[in-house]
Each structure stands twice: as structure tokens, then as C-alpha cells.
């Protein structure tokens, strides 16, 4: 793969809205999991809007210079959402969009869980409960270097079951990491069923507050709300921020929404066509 080739994606954020980006990301992710016959489309769709807003001007990154030391870091801790993360990076210009066709195949670095050997990926993830600790280390490193960049991490709700997450939740406020931003993709479904049935997280916001984080709850599919929150950080001075983003697993494809099945199942040809039509929002479900 020639990673240095300019992207055929949207490139500049100025000319494209996050809404259009989120549609493209959804289309890419659907095509990728369909072609690779892989799973986790539900979790991809649930964070599509979060990623779209982050990469539409919130994250300070330089796609032509992925290792630029001054960049904001993003650790997507829910590594099983790899397809849509790669889609976002390709659309943002980190590598050619055509490479997405090789997702999970052909010796591609685009593995089914997020791979740090892909330009624009700051940390490999896939085993749950790792991202927040790494993000704490990144934020602390920036702080102690006097650098102004921030560390973002996207967590799944299911991974909040992991004890290591709560070690990090305890750590970050103690070290006043107000350059750390956690976003919980709270779609209420984990791998064996509803979060409330498997291992209840509620009262979730109160838990983070009790650990001394700045907390904001929002609709994780409302671009205006996401942008408002992500451009008014930290939520509280001197504290790390957490956005508890209420989302819907499979969002954007009515027959996938809020259904555990789509944590596992890969869409058939007919389902792909229907899904692409659904996420195109009335537009033609043509090439992304």
C-alpha cells in the first residue's frame, strides 16, 4: 500500500459538513464489513457521528504528517469499531480511500481491531479496557512537556465493566488531566445483551462525577450538541472531561438499530443495498 498517495476522500474539512462525512463513514463501514464478511457494524454505526464531528475540525491533526508531534491524540478504545475508524482516517486523507477495500484481507494493515500500523492511528486496541490508561499517559506526557495538544479516547459502554477503566478513572482527576477527554459511546448494548441486564452501569454520570470528572451527557447523534461540547473543553477547569454520548447501536439503518444481532452479523447483498439506501438520507446510495 502506498500510504503517501493523496486521498481521494474529502480532504479539506472546510468544504464538507460533518453530516455528509458521517454518511460517507456509514457507507464505507457497511461496504467494508459486507465485503470482509466481518462483524461489529452496529458498534461502527453507533459512533459514526462522534467520529464525524471529531474529524470535522475538532481534532487538530495533519493527515500529510501523521506523526506530527503537536497533533491531538485519539485512542479509540473500542477497537472492534475499526472499520469506521479507518474510514474516517481515509476520508480525512491519512491514506487512500481505495485501501478500505482491503479491510480484513490481503495482508492489509487494516485489521478487524484497530491497528497502530495504520497512518493516523495513535494506539492499537481491541482488548477492552486499555484505551483510557494509554490516554492518561498521553495526557500526562503532554502536560509534563508543556505541550498544548489533547488526548481523546472513545470508550464503549461494555468496556466500562473492565476494572482497568476504573483505575484510570481514578487516576486522571488526581493528576488534574484537563487535557484528557473521554467519550462514552453509550449504546446500551454489549456483547451478550442489554447493559442493564448484563452488568448495570447506572447511575453512570453520577459515577464519573463522584470520581471528580467534568461530565456532560448528550445525544451522541446530534452533531450540534457534539460540536458544542467538543469545542468547549474542558468541561470544568482542572478536571478531565467525559462526554456520555447516548447513542443507538446500528444508528442510521432502521433494521439494524438497537439490535444485538448486528454486533455479530454481516449484511447480505440485499441487506447492504437497503442499508446503503437508508444511510444515504434520501440521496442516491452511489459511491461514497
Amino acid at each position: 500500500m502506498d500510504w503517501r498517495k493523496p486521498s481521494t476522500g474529502i480532504g479539506s474539512v472546510a468544504t464538507n459538513s460533518a453530516l455528509e462525512l458521517s454518511r460517507r463513514l456509514r457507507r464505507h463501514a457497511l461496504r467494508m464489513v459486507h465485503a470482509a464478511k466481518s462483524s461489529h457494524i452496529g458498534t461502527c454505526l453507533s459512533m459514526a457521528d462522534i467520529l464525524a464531528v471529531l474529524y470535522d475540525g475538532v481534532l487538530n491533526v495533519r493527515p500529510a504528517e501523521p506523526q506530527w508531534p503537536g497533533r491531538d491524540r485519539l485512542v479509540v478504545s473500542k477497537g472492534h469499531g475499526a472499520a469506521i475508524v479507518y474510514a474516517a482516517l481515509a476520508e480525512r486523507g491519512f491514506f487512500p480511500v481505495t485501501e478500505l477495500d482491503r479491510y480484513c484481507r490481503d495482508g492489509s494493515p487494516l485489521t478487524g481491531h484497530i491497528n497502530s500500523h495504520v497512518p493516523g492511528v495513535d494506539a492499537a486496541t481491541g482488548a477492552l479496557g486499555h484505551g483510557l490508561g494509554i490516554a492518561c499517559g498521553l495526557a500526562l506526557g503532554a502536560r509534563r512537556s508543556g505541550a498544548g495538544w489533547r488526548a481523546f479516547t472513545i470508550l464503549s459502554d461494555g468496556e466500562l465493566d473492565e476494572g482497568s477503566i476504573w483505575e484510570a478513572v481514578l487516576f486522571a482527576p488526581h493528576h488534574r488531566l484537563d487535557n484528557l477527554v473521554a467519550i462514552v459511546d453509550y449504546n446500551k448494548i454489549q456483547s451478550f445483551g442489554r447493559v442493564s441486564d448484563v452488568l448495570e452501569l447506572e447511575p453512570l454520570a453520577a459515577k464519573w462525577r463522584a470520581f471528580n470528572w467534568g461530565v456532560r451527557e448528550l445525544d451522541g447523534h446530534d452533531h450540534d450538541a457534539l460540536r458544542a461540547a467538543l469545542t468547549a473543553l474542558p468541561i470544568e477547569p482542572g478536571r478531565p472531561s467525559v462526554l456520555i454520548a447516548h447513542t443507538v447501536k446500528g444508528k442510521g439503518v432502521p433494521f439494524m438499530e438497537d439490535d444485538l444481532l448486528w454486533h455479530y452479523r454481516s449484511p447480505s447483498d440485499a441487506e447492504l443495498a437497503a442499508a446503503l439506501a437508508a444511510v444515504s438520507g434520501g440521496e442516491k446510495a452511489g459511491a461514497p
Partner: protein, 307 residues
């Protein structure tokens, strides 16, 4: 060894601003000297080894050389997945330090016995595994792991180990340290049993058995050449380690099995069985043959059988 380690780390940190020390709320009366001298580069992560290791990975991603420090299994097995995924997969400059390797915390019970660490660490991708044999090697190993790029594991004893090396031997990652030459048997030692092995070589010498002694602080990468030479030049290769299955003996066996050699391997190590009683390190070692007498007897018996 911990004193040799922390003194050396302070020297290194004075010259290298990248060096950071993160502990898991252990190291009382050892780490203070570093914390006082380098407050901006010291961090107590609390009793939270998984996060300690994740934080170390994140810090290392910002260009630092990060030492994590705790007792026996805590920085190794407790957080093994963070070591594997966060540190090793990213090839980061995280140097994991465990004090109390082997049975140094003998009376404290099995939770504090670091007897599987070498096995676990040596199979991880890119992980350099070093178990110094005495305080002199501990000093040299500390310098070497800073020079060595990527993840390293430094298994230290506790305090008061016998100084075996009277002067600083040449020390390089992946290289054995020849202690004495001999043609009847090769004794390969890793970690804190080095003094016992040196003593056994003396005792064997009094019986007319000429033992070659290799100190092998580096279990991964292993000095294959030194092992192959030992197998070619001495009929018996004996490994000695304060560790159970999967450590030095296994690493040496892998080398020997891959090459035609007439040499036999005698592994002297701990049984794959949790110790359920309290006793001091020397007694627990001796009970499983890890003493000057035990090693001497096992070697002369093996040579006699052969003859």
C-alpha cells in the same frame, strides 16, 4: 540489587531527561531518592498495575523511557495484557522492573513468589528479559536496558545479595558473561542464584571436575552461540535458575533441540508447584536443590551416571 538499580537509575536520569519512573505504590525506602531528585519524572500510579502500565505506554508514546516498578508478579502478571498489547505491540520504551524475583519474598507466601515471570516475559514479542546475577550485574543491566530500544523486563532480587563480580565484566544484551572456563560441564546461571553457582563450581573443582560457568543475565534474547559452544565443548550443560518451568532451561533446551549435539541438559530449577509454607529464601531454595551443595551434588551425580 534494588539499591544498585535505583542508584544507577538516578545517574542515568541525571544525564537523560527522557527517563521517567512510575511505581505501583511499592518501593518505600527505595525510590524516595529518585522522587526527591526528579519530582517531575516520578509518579506513583497507586495500587493499579494495569493502569500503571497503560499510563507508562502513553508516556512512552510521547518519547519517554518509562520504568515501571513493583514487586514480583504485580508489574508482570497482574497487568500482562497491558504489557503485551500496550507496550510490546507498540514496541515502546517501557522498562518493567520487578523486585523480589524468585523466592526473595520467601516467607510472604506464594502471591509474592516471582517464579513464572521469565517464562511469561520471554515469549512476548520484542521483549528483552534480563535477570542480573548480582548487584554488579544489576547496575550494568540497568544501563543496558536504557540503551536497548523497546520493551525490557528487569528482574531484580531484593537486598543484600552477594557481590560475585569483583570488577565490572563486559555486559551486553544477548551476551553471556563467561565467569570461568572448564571442559567437564557448563553451568549456566540466570538471576540471583549466581553466587550459588559460583560456589558449586568451586566445590566441583575440589572434586576434580572442571566446570565452565556462564552467567546468563539475558534470557531473551538468549546468547545462542554461547549455548551452542557449551554443548559442543562440554558433555553436560546445567541450567540453574530460581524459577519454574519455561525459563532459562526451556530457552536453552530450545537451542539444543534445534542443533545436533551430544551434550545432555540438566535443568536445575523449581518444580511447577506452588510453595504453600513460609520459610526464608535460602531454605526454600535448598529444599528444591538450589544450594551450593544441591547443585554440586546434582552435577557430580549426573557426570557419574554418564561415566
Amino acid at each position: 540489587m534494588r539499591t544498585a538499580f535505583i542508584e544507577t537509575l538516578c545517574e542515568l536520569a541525571a544525564a537523560d531527561e527522557r527517563i521517567v519512573l512510575v511505581c505501583g505504590d511499592l518501593g518505600y525506602s527505595v525510590l524516595e531518592v529518585f522522587a526527591r531528585r526528579f519530582p517531575d519524572r516520578y509518579l506513583n500510579a497507586g495500587v493499579a498495575e494495569a493502569n500503571m502500565t497503560g499510563v507508562a505506554a502513553g508516556l512512552a508514546m510521547t518519547g519517554r523511557v518509562v520504568f515501571t516498578y513493583s514487586i514480583a508478579n504485580f508489574p508482570v502478571i497482574r497487568c500482562l495484557e497491558q504489557v503485551r498489547n500496550d507496550v510490546c505491540y507498540h514496541g515502546l520504551d517501557v522498562k518493567i522492573v520487578a523486585v523480589g524475583g524468585g523466592l526473595a519474598y520467601g516467607p510472604q507466601g506464594y502471591t509474592h513468589h516471582g517464579v513464572e515471570d521469565l517464562a511469561v516475559m520471554r515469549v512476548l514479542p520484542g521483549m528483552t528479559v534480563v535477570a542480573p546475577g548480582d548487584p554488579v550485574e544489576a547496575r550494568l543491566a540497568t544501563r543496558a536496558v536504557v540503551r536497548q530500544a523497546g520493551p525490557c523486563y528487569l528482574r531484580l532480587g531484593k537486598a543484600g545479595e552477594t557481590v560475585v563480580h569483583q570488577s565490572e565484566p563486559p555486559f551486553a544484551i544477548g551476551r553471556a558473561i563467561p565467569m570461568r572456563d572448564g571442559s567437564d560441564v557448563t553451568l549456566i546461571s540466570t538471576g540471583g542464584v549466581l553466587a550459588l553457582v559460583a560456589g558449586a563450581a568451586d566445590a566441583l573443582g575440589r572434586q576434580g571436575i572442571r566446570a565452565r560457568v556462564l552467567s546468563m543475565p539475558c534470557v531473551a534474547p538468549l546468547d545462542q552461540e554461547a549455548v551452542e559452544r557449551a554443548a559442543a565443548e562440554t558433555p553436560l550443560v546445567v541450567t540453574v535458575e530460581e524459577h519454574g518451568a519455561g525459563g532459562l532451561a526451556s530457552a536453552v533446551a530450545e537451542v539444543l533441540a534445534a542443533r545436533p549435539s551430544a551434550a545432555r541438559l540438566l535443568p536445575l530449577r523449581l518444580e511447577r508447584r506452588a510453595i504453600q509454607v513460609a520459610d526464608d529464601q535460602a531454605t526454600l531454595r535448598s529444599a528444591q536443590g538450589l544450594s551450593v551443595e544441591g547443585i554440586t551434588e546434582a552435577v557430580s551425580r549426573a557426570l557419574a551416571r554418564r561415566a
